[in-house]
């Protein structure tokens, strides 16, 4: 057989030469149509990728705002040791409005209150306070913090985060992001 095209043909009927041969008379037309198909495909990809990626990534655009929350009465917090206090907050969790419980550690010196967030600064586990040792311990990778929240040992890169506090009419408020 002279024509390799017919030899390679995988269909069952013998096929004619012209069926598979590129049209040599209009190579430009071939190029043009090929490029058009390419452009159309890129357009189709963009048409689906753009909206879907924007949709998926939308949480990135959400702004957080800070809010003052009353958490405890000043007189309920004994002086010295860190005290775990839990409070509830109405938040928007994705598609639902829920009341989420949070905890913080409050330490009081006179009328000053410092508020330490329990999220370990390493990878976010909740630290626990040991009264007898005056230390915070992280259950995950062994991070240890002193009563002020400063790193004593372990992998955490920096001190425990603090929330701003204020005391008004015997009520302790903390500021947090929502």
């Amino acid at each position: 057989m002279k024509d390799s095209n017919t030899e390679q043909c995988s269909c069952c009927n013998p096929c004619s030469k012209d069926e598979v041969k590129p049209d040599p008379k209009s190579p430009d037309r071939r190029k043009f149509l090929g490029a058009s198909v390419g452009i159309i495909n890129v357009g189709l990809l963009a048409a689906i990728a753009g909206p879907v990626l924007g949709f998926i990534a939308s949480p990135l655009g959400r702004k957080r705002s800070s809010k003052w929350v009353p958490v405890a009465a000043l007189e309920d917090i004994p002086e010295g040791a860190a005290h775990e206090i839990s409070y509830k907050l109405a938040i928007k969790d994705g598609y639902q409005d829920i009341t989420q419980k949070y905890t913080v550690f409050l330490t009081r010196q006179g009328d000053d209150v410092i508020c330490i967030d329990p999220a370990c600064t390493h990878l976010g586990c909740r630290v626990k306070y040991q009264d007898d040792q005056k230390r915070f311990f992280c259950p995950c990778h062994g991070g240890v913090f002193d009563a002020e929240g400063k790193v004593v040992s372990g992998p955490p890169p920096h001190a425990l985060d603090r929330h701003k506090t204020k005391v008004e009419k015997g009520q302790v408020w903390i500021q947090r992001e929502v």
């Binding site: 775990e84 639902q96 419980k101 990878l123 976010g124 909740r126 626990k128 306070y129 040991q130 995950c140």
Partner: protein, 398 residues
């Protein structure tokens, strides 16, 4: 009714007819009229099925191929089981923070056979990871990733990552304490990457905290994205395995290649029986548990990831402050890149382990490191300075 219009049923055909239909080709006009093809032939003409089956059964196995080469098919079987049990579980599961835990509890304690089906899925994932690691190691030591099988290996590495993705996303779905805290820590790993860390964390979690959007994201990945990726990758992997055939032992053995059927297929079946039997045994003898409902305010036990992430977990413990990126990014990244580029890092012509020493030594070092860290994680009880519940001062206001 004229006989020719009767419904096709090979069993009712007369013996002569049957013989007729198996003939390679009817020639005369008359013969074409009479020899109605059997259903098998009818389908075969359209699907080319018998050729495919024959080619598969005749796939040449070089001398020396045996039990070690059964792991790939074991993986396929286990993954098929995983798809089926996953599909069944999805019928009773509900991916919301208010309902996920209850729905899994219902599956585990109320739905007939629920504990068993969930057990098959949970233990299946563990056995799949074991089989996957073994399959990868056997390919590594046989040097089967070398020319022309580089892309078979590369696709395999992607499959490996997809499987780890399955287990990471699946772990959150029950929404119990273990699930929640492992995900809080696991996703925070993304935040340790410089510059893009924080947006990436938000993207993965669907917000700054692990919450309802994290759950739906993980669910969508677990049941849609990852299965689609896996099927595609497995298809390419198997196509490439067939295209290049299985590599023989590193020291070519005497003897002609044997067809896949019956010897190798029989070995495959035995291994599948043992593998599936093991999963069933584990599902029955150690039914899956459920911890307390996820509680963002605290953990009573040290949160631990799935056992095959324990190596990473231990690595995180030993990294000094400020260097966590080494454990979260540099080391896992180097291992992944090393796996991806292995066929191009190892330039030696020979597949023999003695003639690619540095690759083998590095490989064994990495395997030992991961193995030992994982073992340490398995043996580690929660740190001793965490007292039993009830000791600390926990005052709940409001």
């Amino acid at each position: 009714m004229p006989e020719l219009l009767k419904p096709e049923d090979p069993h009712t055909l007369s013996p002569e007819r049957k013989a007729d239909t198996t003939r390679v080709g009817a020639t005369t006009e008359e013969e074409i009229q009479i020899s109605r093809p059997s259903l098998r032939d009818w389908l075969d003409l359209r699907l080319g099925w018998s050729g495919f089956v024959r080619k598969t059964l005749d796939e040449p196995m070089p001398a020396g191929v045996g039990w070690w080469q059964t792991l790939g098919n074991l993986l396929m079987t286990l993954l098929m089981f995983q798809f089926i049990t996953g599909f069944a579980l999805a019928m009773y599961y509900s991916a919301g923070t208010q309902s996920a835990y209850e729905s899994v509890k219902n599956i585990t304690y109320n739905v007939p056979l629920g504990s068993f089906v969930r057990g098959l899925h949970v233990w299946g994932s563990t056995i799949i990871v074991l089989a996957l690691v073994t399959h990868t190691l056997r390919v590594f030591f046989w040097g089967s990733y070398k020319k022309p099988r580089e892309l078979t290996w590369l696709v395999g590495v992607f499959i490996f990552q997809v499987i780890l993705g399955f287990s990471f996303t699946g772990y959150l779905l029950p929404w119990d304490q273990k699930a929640y805290w492992a995900t809080v820590v696991g996703t925070r790993i993304a935040a340790t990457i410089p510059v893009v860390g924080d947006p990436l964390l938000n993207l993965i979690r669907g917000g700054p905290e692990v919450g309802s959007l994290t759950l739906t994201r993980f669910y969508a990945a677990h049941v849609m994205l990852l299965p689609a990726l896996l099927i595609g990758l497995m298809g390419i992997h198997l196509y490439l395995v067939r295209r290049h055939h299985i590599a023989g032992p590193v020291n070519p053995q005497r003897g002609k290649p044997e067809p896949f059927f019956p010897n190798q297929l029989f070995k495959d079946a035995i291994v599948q029986l043992v593998g599936v039997g093991l999963v069933i045994y584990l599902a029955l003898s150690m039914p899956p548990a459920l911890e307390a409902l996820a509680d963002p305010t605290g953990v009573d036990v040290a949160p631990r990831p799935e056992w095959y992430f324990l190596g990473l977990y231990e690595l995180l413990k030993v990294m000094p402050a400020g260097f966590e990126i080494i454990a979260t990014g540099v080391i896992p990244g180097a291992v992944s890149l090393g796996m991806i580029f292995l066929p191009w890092l190892d330039r030696s012509e020979s597949r023999h382990p003695a003639r690619r020493q540095w690759i083998i030594v590095t490989g064994i070092a990495v395997i030992l490191l991961i193995g030992l860290m994982t073992l340490k994680g398995l043996l580690d009880t929660p740190p001793p300075h965490i007292p039993a519940p009830g000791h600390g001062t926990t005052i709940s206001g409001h």
